[in-house]
């Protein structure tokens, strides 16, 4: 078990305070699908966006585990599930690959904007015909002088409507080959780049999402992130961070949900007894607790292994699968524990189900995680 320092606890408490403020009008914004501009201004002031990045770029130089612990606090307090998702998307989409693979020039130019939140980040990976099968992507990048020319379209770009910089993954080599994809940093105002309208979706409605169209967008070779052909490895690194940071937020949400359900089950009486005294209800709460504890173990054990520079491909896949499925189960159980109140929009419990389902799809579906584990076992 990790022993957190006072400094780490203070950072987490600050994130929790921020999350509580941002989440105040979550029901109204969920109904209208509105991103919290005010929340973004607050998170910028807090310094949270620069947590894992170098102090020379305006970051806090926090390690991975500290970053996760603080984000867990944000998830526990913020009832607007879409907002932390936009925060983690911003951090992992542009900041994480820049810090690990970016040239000094790219880091100096773009990381300060990531840390301060002045330039919102997004990544463009999925395509209409290439979701989990990213190696089948059709967006191409062709070298022309000192520029690459990007053409194609991307779907499901989280933060797309509000982003200033995009990490675009495009094909520079033979389709399907592991060295076929390259990562490019593309600015929003690049000629030929068109951001689609915000798209309606089931959950995470306050985190805007759009399509992205690239019509002969010229990107200087200096904005290649990592080596040409190394996009798959860049993305693999990004996905490790995305899964750990996004899903540790879900852990915080599950902790809050469990506490609320236990409180309700102890105070709500039916047939003269608290509903929690009925085994059919208490079993649900126990399963929710098991989901929380299992998720915590997988998230932090995997993070510690990653920090220890061990290969975590299998661990990351299992972590993602375990936490996302536990979150769905927890959210559904909460609706059942709250009964009619859980089903009503105004109590905010049903929203968690819609939000949680997204976690079984983004960052690689549950199905693709199983396939990945199987492949690592030599079965695929």
């Amino acid at each position: 078990m990790i022993k957190w320092t006072d400094e780490q606890r203070t950072l987490r408490a600050a994130a929790a305070e921020l999350g509580a403020v941002v989440g105040k009008d979550h029901l109204e914004r969920d109904a209208t699908g509105t991103f919290s501009e005010q929340g973004w201004a607050l998170v910028r002031e807090s310094g949270l966006l620069g947590l894992p990045f170098g102090a020379e770029y305006g970051g806090l130089d926090a390690d991975l585990l500290t970053t996760m612990y603080v984000l867990e606090g944000l998830g526990e307090s913020c009832r607007d599930g879409g907002f932390p998702f936009s925060v983690t998307t911003h951090v992992v989409s542009t900041g994480v690959p820049l810090q690990r693979f970016g040239s000094d020039e790219l880091k100096q130019r773009y990381l300060p904007g990531v840390c301060s939140g002045s330039a919102i980040g997004a990544h463009a990976i999925s395509e209409p015909d290439a979701g989990s099968d990213m190696m089948a992507m059709r967006t191409t990048a062709v070298l022309d002088g000192d520029d690459y020319v990007l053409s194609g379209s991307k779907s499901f770009v989280s933060n797309g409507p509000i982003a200033d910089t995009f990490m675009v993954y495009a094909r520079t080599g033979k389709s399907g080959a592991p060295d076929a994809i390259t990562t490019f940093l593309v600015e929003r105002d690049s000629p030929g780049l068109h951001v689609g309208q915000p798209m309606g979706k089931m959950g995470l409605k306050t985190s805007p999402l759009s399509e992205l169209f690239l019509d002969g967008v010229r990107v200087p070779t200096s904005r290649v992130v990592g080596k040409v052909g190394a996009g798959f490895l860049v993305l693999d690194h990004v996905m490790k961070w995305e899964i750990l940071l996004s899903f540790v937020v879900n852990l915080g949400e599950m902790e809050h949900r469990l506490a609320e359900c236990v409180r309700h089950a102890r105070s709500r009486k039916q047939f003269g007894r608290p509903i929690g005294s009925y085994q059919s209800v208490s079993n649900k709460l126990v399963d929710m607790r098991i989901g929380v504890e299992t998720s915590r173990k997988w998230l932090y054990d995997t993070a510690e292994k990653l920090v220890a520079r061990k290969a975590v491909t299998t661990d990351i896949a299992i972590t993602k699968l375990v936490v996302s499925e536990a979150n769905v189960a927890s959210a559904l159980a909460a609706v059942q524990v709250f009964g009619g109140y859980g089903y009503m929009t105004e109590y905010g419990v049903e929203k968690d189900v819609r939000n949680a389902v997204a976690g079984t799809i983004y960052s690689g579906t549950t199905e693709i995680q199983r396939q990945r584990v199987a492949a690592m076992m030599g079965l695929g």
Binding site: G229, L233, V312, M376
Partner: protein, 86 residues
């Protein structure tokens, strides 16, 4: 057994079980010829990290380093000599 032989045996066993280790040329293009796909690349990197105690998440990785058995061997040699890229 030399390291290059060990790498060859692993790649044949995991990705090309229909051939013998001595049939795989050390310069054969594993990526272009589809012997190692994207997930296979992660498996190979994971195995190299564990087998040779390489800090794989700290090294500046590129697919070229895994294009052939000889390239993989050179990558391991380089990683062992240089240590992690910080």
């Amino acid at each position: 057994m030399s390291r290059i032989d060990e790498i060859t045996r692993y790649i044949v066993a995991e990705f090309a079980p229909d051939i013998r280790a001595d049939e795989l040329d050390a310069d054969y293009d594993l990526l272009d010829n589809g012997v190692v796909d994207s997930l296979g690349l992660l498996r190979l990197i994971g195995w190299l990290g564990e087998r040779y105690d390489l800090p794989v998440d700290d090294i500046d990785l590129a697919p070229e380093q895994f294009r052939s058995v000889r390239a993989v061997d050179a990558f391991v040699e380089s990683a062992l000599v240089k240590g992690p890229a910080l």
